[in-house]
C-alpha cells in the first residue's frame, strides 16, 4: 500500500528531539523523538494514558514542551498558540473534528477562514466560492457528498473525518495530525478514513496518525512511535517491525486487540 516513500532526503518536515512535558509533579511525556517526512505517515501508538494527547497538544501549539526541541524544516520552532502552529502549516484534526453538526458542510469547511467579497461594510462571506471549493476539494479527495448545503450532522462518522481532512489539506497543511480518527468508527468506516489518510500522504503531506489500534496503523504507516506511560518504547521504520510485533508491543498485546475488535463489531454498519 505505502509505495510513496516521500523524498526521504534532506531535513524531515517535522522532527522531535527528546521532547518532554511535566504537569506539576506529573511527568506526562519524557524523551520522545521521532520524525515526520513529506509523503510519509508517522503513527503514534499507545494505550490510554500513554501520552498521545499530550504529544498532539505539543505539536499543535496548545502546550509548550518542558524539555526537548521541535524542529520544522530543520529549524527549531516554539509555538505559543494553536494559531501559530496552524500558520506554520501544522493542522490538527481533533477527535471532535472541530465541526459544528447543525451547520452546512460548506460553512464548516471554511469556518474561521471564510473567503470574503465586497468592501467596507458590505464585505460578505463569499458563499458561492465557498460552496464551489468545498465541492471541488471533497471531490479531489474522492469524497462523494450529495449536497454541500446539508448539515454536517447528517454525515456518517467516516465522512465527517474525511471532510475535516480535506479541510486541513485545502488550507495548506504540510503536516496533518490526526487524533484517533478511526477510534470511534466501525471497521468499514475506519477503512474509508485510512484510504483518505493514504490520499493525503500521496499528495505530499506529512501525516501524524495517532491511534491505539495496530491493525489500523500498520497498513498505512511508514514509521511507528510507540508510547507507554509517557515514555517511548521505540521509534521504528516500517521494515523493522511486523504487524504481529507491533500488536504484541502494544500494552496488553493480542488479548487487548481481540477485545477491541470484539467491542468494535456491533458498531460496524
Amino acid at each position: 500500500m505505502s509505495t510513496a516513500a516521500g523524498d526521504g532526503s534532506g531535513a524531515p518536515l517535522l522532527e522531535l528531539r527528546g521532547i518532554g512535558k511535566d504537569f506539576g509533579s506529573v511527568i506526562a511525556l519524557d524523551d520522545i523523538s521521532t520524525t515526520v517526512r513529506a509523503g510519509e505517515v508517522t503513527c503514534v501508538l499507545g494505550d490510554n494514558g500513554a501520552g498521545k494527547s499530550t504529544l498532539i497538544k505539543i505539536l499543535s501549539g496548545v502546550h509548550r514542551p518542558t524539555r526537548g526541541e521541535l524542529l520544522l524544516d530543520g529549524r527549531p520552532v516554539d509555538f505559543g498558540a494553536p494559531r501559530e502552529a496552524l500558520d506554520a502549516g501544522i493542522a490538527t484534526v481533533y477527535q471532535d473534528l472541530a465541526m459544528i453538526p447543525l451547520m452546512a458542510i460548506w460553512r464548516n469547511f471554511f469556518l474561521g477562514s471564510e473567503p470574503t467579497t465586497g468592501w467596507g461594510p458590505f464585505r460578505r462571506f463569499d458563499s458561492a466560492t465557498a460552496k464551489e471549493v468545498t465541492r471541488r476539494e471533497l471531490g479531489a479527495m474522492g469524497i462523494d457528498i450529495r449536497d454541500p448545503d446539508q448539515p454536517v450532522g447528517t454525515l456518517s462518522g467516516g465522512e465527517r473525518q474525511s471532510v475535516a481532512i480535506a479541510r486541513a489539506v485545502h488550507f495548506g497543511a504540510r503536516v496533518l495530525i490526526l487524533d484517533e480518527p478511526t477510534s470511534a468508527l466501525g471497521v468499514k468506516q475506519a477503512g474509508v478514513v485510512l484510504r483518505y489518510i493514504a490520499q493525503a500522504r500521496d499528495r505530499g503531506l506529512g501525516v501524524v496518525f495517532i491511534t491505539h489500534n495496530p491493525h489500523h496503523a500498520h497498513p498505512v504507516g511508514d514509521r511507528f512511535l510507540l508510547l507507554n506511560r509517557g515514555r517511548s518504547m521505540g521509534d521504528f521504520a516500517k521494515g523493522e517491525l511486523s504487524r504481529e510485533q507491533l500488536t504484541t508491543m502494544m500494552a496488553g498485546g493480542d488479548e487487548l486487540t481481540e477485545l477491541a475488535e470484539e467491542l468494535e463489531r456491533p458498531a460496524g454498519r
Binding site: P101, R124, R136, A140, G142, I145, D147
Partner: protein, 352 residues
Amino acid sequence: MSATRAPVSRPARADERVAAVGLWRRLLVKPELGSLIGAVVIFAFFSIQSSVFRSLSGVANWLDVASTLGIMAVAVALLMIGGHFDLSAGVMTGTTALTVGIVATELDQNIWVAIAASLVLALAIGFTNGWLVTRTGLPSFIITLGTFLMLQGLNLGLTKLFTGTVIVRGIADAPGFHSAQLVLASRVSLFGQDFRIAILWWLLATAVASWVLLRTRFGNWVFATGGDEVASRNVGVPAARTTITLFMTTAAAAWLVGSITAVRLTSVQANTGTGQELIYIVAAVIGGCLLTGGFGSAIGASLGALVFGMTQQGIVYLNWDADWFYFFLGAMLLLAVLSNRLVRRYAEAARR
C-alpha cells in the same frame, strides 16, 4: 448544483442523491418555517372572527405592538444562536429610556446628546455582560440575571434621586425633540393609514440581522460559537469577541427601543421594560431558535414577534379576557419548543 467539476465523484449518481434529500426535509430544516405557519394560522384565525383585526387600522395596530418587540427579538435571537441569553435585555430598554429622559430633562441637554449618552451606556452594559460571560465561563443566564437585578435597582434608585418620583417627565420640552420625534416616533401614511415609524426600524433591523447572520463571516462565527464554542475556537474563530459583540448588539437594540419609547411617550416609568426579557426569548424560540444555541433565524424571531403582536391585539379585538393571552403564549411556546426539537433531530440524524 452540478457536480461536474468534481473529478472523482460520479455526477449522475450524486445528482440522483441530491434529489433524494427531498423538498419536505429541506423545508423542515429551515428554522423559520414553524413561525411562518404559526403566523399564517393566527392571522387567519383572528381575521375570520374580527373585521377590525383585518382592517388597515387593525393591521397598523398589531404591527406597532410587534415592532419594538421585534427589534429586541431579532437581537436576542442572534445572541441565542450564539449560545447565550440576556435576561437584562428587558430592563435595559428601561435603563436606556430613563437615561434619555434624565439627561434631556434633569441635565438640560439636547435630546440627541441624551440619546448618544444612552447609547454609550448601553454599549458599556452590553460589553460588561459579554466580558463577564467570556471571562468567567459562567452561564450567561446567571450573569445577566445579576445585571438585570442591578439595573432594576439602579433604574428605580436613580430616577428617584433625580426626579424625586418614579417617573421622568417632560422629554418633549428638550431641545431638538422634534427632529428626534420625526426619526423615532413619527407616523408614515400608507394606503390612507398611518403606520408607526418603529415598524420601519423593525423591518430594517430584521433585514440587517438576517444579512449579517447568513451572508457575513461574523454570521458564520455566530452559528459556530453557539454550536460548539471549543470546536470553533480550535479552528480560529474569535469566539470571545463574537460573544461580546452579540451582547453589545442586544444592548444597542435595547437602546433603540428605549429611545423610541422615551420619545414616543415623552415620559418614562422607572419600571419600563421589566419582565419583557422573557417575551423576547419566547419570540425567538417561536421563531425557531434552539435554546442550546447554534440554530435559528432573525426572520423567524421577527415572525415570532408578529405572532405575539397579533395574539395580543387579536384577543382585545375579540373582547376576550386578556388573561387568556398568556395561556395562548405558553401553549405556542411549548408547541414551538417541541417542533424545534423535531427539526433538530431531523437535521442531526446520521445517515444509516
